[in-house]
Structure formats: structure tokens, C-alpha cells
């Protein structure tokens, strides 16, 4: 499995582990709210706590699974700038590898939401003429995102041939 998504040579560059912390924080807050509402609703409606326990249990199990998946996802995320193309590997449940020639790049976005900025993260997304390409790298340090973006625009010029 690992070799299926391996780099032909060299090492994957990894994203920052703090992305997992951010996503887990969001997970805990959202799931906590949902479970809280469900439990309260159960208590109000049935006036017993019979429903509260299974609901909480299911919530906890699901949360645990998601927690594990987030960690795996962030660990699996890798990218590499090779001579002619950018390689990106990601996914925990569904594994994906995408190879984009630099010359295919139409535009590059660097994005950072408020939470991401609080965690010192930014994402780089490369758009080609195909919507299926989906070449996005989240969880980069802002300097690394800027470096990658500049490098990609620079290499895009060398690669040329837009369509």
C-alpha cells in the first residue's frame, strides 16, 4: 500500500502537525455541541436518561474514529516538487496521489482562514484547466506557502503550454 503511493525517488515534504490539532479542536467543539443538544433533547423528551447514554457512547465512538482519522490524514499528507511536476499524496480513508505538470498550472491560491492563522497555517491550491485535479496542500507554514507559491509560478513559466 505504501509503495503504491510512494515517490519514485527522494522524500515527501510533510505538512505541519498543528493542522491535526486545529482539526481535532474543531471536531471536539462541533461534536460536543451536537451531542450536548441531543442529550438535552433526550432528557427533555423522555424525561429519563435512558437515551443519553447510548447517544453519548455513539458520539464518543464516532469522535474517536474521526480523531484517529484526522491524525492519519495529516500524517499521510505529502508533497514533492520534482523537476517537471508537483506530486501530492493525501487521504486517510480514500488514498490519493496526484501528479501535476508545472506547465498545466493556470493559477495558484494561498488561503488562510482565521483559525488557520491562529495556528500559523496556510494552504496552497493549484488550479489547472481540469476541475478533477484537486491539488491542494493545507497545513503549511506561511513562509513555506509563499515559497511554494513563488516556486510554482516560476516553474509554471518554464513549463508553459497552457492547454
Amino acid at each position: 500500500m505504501e509503495e503504491l503511493f510512494a515517490l519514485p525517488e527522494g522524500e515527501w515534504l510533510r505538512i505541519r502537525p498543528s493542522l491535526a490539532r486545529l482539526r481535532r479542536l474543531v471536531l471536539v467543539v462541533v461534536l460536543g455541541l451536537v451531542v450536548l443538544v441531543l442529550v438535552l433533547a433526550g432528557v427533555v423528551v423522555s424525561e429519563t436518561r435512558l437515551l443519553a447514554w447510548p447517544l453519548g457512547g455513539v458520539g464518543l465512538l464516532f469522535g474517536g474514529w474521526m480523531w484517529w482519522l484526522i491524525g492519519r490524514n495529516v500524517r499521510n499528507w505529502g508533497y514533492a516538487e520534482r523537476a517537471e511536476d508537483l506530486w501530492i499524496r493525501h487521504g486517510a480513508f480514500v488514498m490519493r496521489l496526484v501528479v501535476v505538470p508545472y506547465g498545466r498550472m493556470q493559477l495558484v491560491d494561498v488561503t488562510a482562514g482565521p483559525l488557520e492563522r491562529a495556528f500559523g497555517l496556510a494552504a496552497v491550491q493549484l488550479h489547472t484547466a481540469s476541475p478533477a485535479t484537486a491539488a491542494r496542500i493545507p497545513g503549511l507554514a506561511p513562509q513555506e506557502a509563499a515559497r511554494l507559491r513563488d516556486r510554482l509560478t516560476e516553474l509554471g513559466e518554464a513549463g508553459k503550454s497552457g492547454l
Binding site: 500500500m1 501528479v99 505538470p101 498545466r104 493559477l107 491560491d109 488562510a112 492563522r117 484547466a129 513559466e157
Partner: protein, 450 residues
Amino acid sequence: MSDPLPDHVAAPEEDEFRRLSPLTPIARSAIFLAAAAYTGGRQVIEEREFTGAAIAAAAVLVAGAVFGFASWYRTKFRITATELRIDTGVFNRRSRRVRLDRILEIGVNQPFVARLLGLAELKIETATTEAEVSLSYLPLGEAHEVRQVLLQQRDTARAREAGEEGARGFAGGAAPPSAEPVPLVRVPLSWQVKGLLASGETVGLLLLGIAIGGVLAAGLSLGAFGIGLATFGGAAFSLVRKLVGWWDWRVAVVPTGIQVRHGMFSLTTRTFNVERLQGVRITEPLLQRPFGLARLELSVAGGMKDNGSGDEGSGIALPVAPLDLVWRLAADLIGADPSAVPTTGPPRRASWLRPFGRPWLAFGMDDRLVVSRAGLFARRTDLVPLARVQSLRLTQGPLQRWLRLASVHADSPVGLVNAQGVHRDPAEARRLVQEGVERARVARMPRAAL
């Protein structure tokens, strides 16, 4: 393009961040503003009091104004010799870079409110469809000026690249643009009739006809068959429309590619630019297969010129023709022989994920072409030149992992072709992707360099 300015002449004074028109928030939220003002204002006037909805409306207005201002303040753009940079976002920040040589066209739009304020929106079109690049709003004069600068810079950038690349052959005009189309194929009436008879509509008509005949023979009222009759009419109408629309279908060669002309009453002419051809699809419908007929469709990126009416079958090059003719035309258009491409099917265990149609899945590539086949009923063969592939992907879902399978995708721009090899053996999928990356790199190189 006529005066290739040296870049140090064109670039310098544009090298700073600029802002959009300060009236932008007003132009963007005019309807919203009017609604809030109306709600609040009406209450003030009717009740002569400044309470309730009025206060809420005022609060919304203030919040909207603050956000609108912040959004305007945060939005900046800059044009350099090689790229357009647009920074936006109050909470979610985004910095977007568009390479100038990738700009296809720039439109100047004036929605109603913006027009009242003398503003305009610049819509910058690239080959991506998923990301919208626009500058809204700029004062109309400035919009035209920015458009001019961008197009000029684009042409300079392109000229510079062309220079670096050396003389790339016939881009300028080796072939004299002779206007006369050279006839290539004409679809005779007999093919059309065969194609129409061997279609779902005809079968539906026959079945319905038999059913209605049976009902009449049994002496029942036809009233209950209202829906059946409507379907009958619909199918008949569809048949007639195809017969009329596809009447006298001709394919001709023009300097830029091929041209199709068809129609009994209204004549439709369409030109497909071969340089922009992203791929072709050959479809063999179930009912036409016994007659050896097929359909040829083209996927062209933004290069389709439509000088006719209607959008019926916009990508169709041949609606119905013998299979070998369709293959020959496809091979000529692609410029490679698709029958020489070795293809393989998924392993037997893929039937767990694709219980029907697994034997008809096939995928393969050679140095020039990606070929992918699928279809239990209608057989579809997609041909994509490797030089046009945008990216290569390898995916594996949890079930596939469990069954030791993986899928390969060769991504094309939006269009009908979709070259993919689903549920392959992982080792083979990996090999296809890795070889594909190398082969595509070679295929993209200009011919002269080989």
C-alpha cells in the same frame, strides 16, 4: 501583439498594489441596502418611532458598512510583468496569482447598480472553470485601462516565451488561410434512417403502439393512457427533431480543423479547432451495435464557434456512421492511431465492485494517446492525447484497498471525455501513472525538439 514592447518599458509603474473603487461595497450590496432602508424607514414613517425593526435595520446597515469597508480595504491587486495578484478576504484571506500568459479573455461587465455608479467589473477568463477571477468594481475608465494593460502584458509575456522557445514552426501562418472548406464526409440518408430506427425512441414507440393497439382491440377506453400517449408524442417528436436537425450532415476540413454543417430547415454550422481538441468519444449505442454504427463526439476547450441556432448535440462530429469510418476520422483528428494502443481490463476480483460491465472496462496508453473504454449497454471509448492531459491521479478507496485494487485517472478539462482506468491491479495502476507522467512530458514537448 503587433508591437512587442521590451518588458522594462511595459512593466515598471504598474508594479504597485492598487485598490478597487471605494464605491464597491455600495454597488455590491445595493439591493440589500435598499431592503434594510425600506424596512427601517417604513417603520419610522408609519409609527413615527425609532424602535424595533428600525434599530435592527440600522444595526444591520452599520455592520454591513463595516464589513463592506473592511472587505474593500483588504482587497488589493497588482500587475507585474508575469502575473496578476489579487489579495482578498477579511476573515478567510486569499492571495491569488494568475499567470498573465494564461489569460484567455477579459470581459468588462456592468450590472445595473454598478452602471448607475459608473463602475464596471473585470472578468478575467483562464482555462480553469472552478476558480473565478474577477475585479469588481473599478471605475469604468480604469477597468478598460487595466484590461488594456493586462492584455498587453499577456502578449508581451507570450512573445517573450515564444522567443525563448525558438521558432516553433507554423504558429504564425505557414498554412495560408484558404477559406474554402474541403468536403470530407457526408452522412447519407440511409445511415440516418438506420440510426433513427435503431434507437430507444423507436423501440419505445413500437412498444407503446402495441400496447395501445391491444387496449383498443380489447375495447377499453383510451382515457387511462393519457400519459402513454404523451410519451408516444414525445418520442415521435424527438425522432422527427433528430431527422430534421441532423439532415444532410456534412463534415469538411477547414484550416483550423473541421467544420460540420447540418439541418433540413435551419442550417447549423460548427467549427472545431483541432489545436484545442482535448479528446474524442466514440459511442456505440446498444441498438446500433448490430448495424455496426457509432457516434463521434469531440471535446474542445473553449474553441467552439457556433454560428447556428440551437445547441442540439454541440460536440457531435458524426451523429451516426459505420464504425470504421468513425475510427478513421477519430484517428485523423487526434493524429495518432488508437487501435495500436495496448489496453487491458481490470482483474476478475473487480467484479465485486463492478458486478455488471466489468468485462468492458479497459484502459491503456502509448506514447501519444490515452484510451479508456466502458459501458455495459452503450460502449464508450474515450481517446485523449497525452499532451493534453492536465494531471494524472491514482486513487484507492477502503474497499479497493481490501480487494487490492486502485484506479487511474487522466484528467481533462471540463467536457465529455473522461479517461480513467478503474479497479486495476495496484502494481499496474502505479506503473501506468509513473509511465504516463514520463510519456506525457515527452508528448508535451514541441515536435521540432524531438
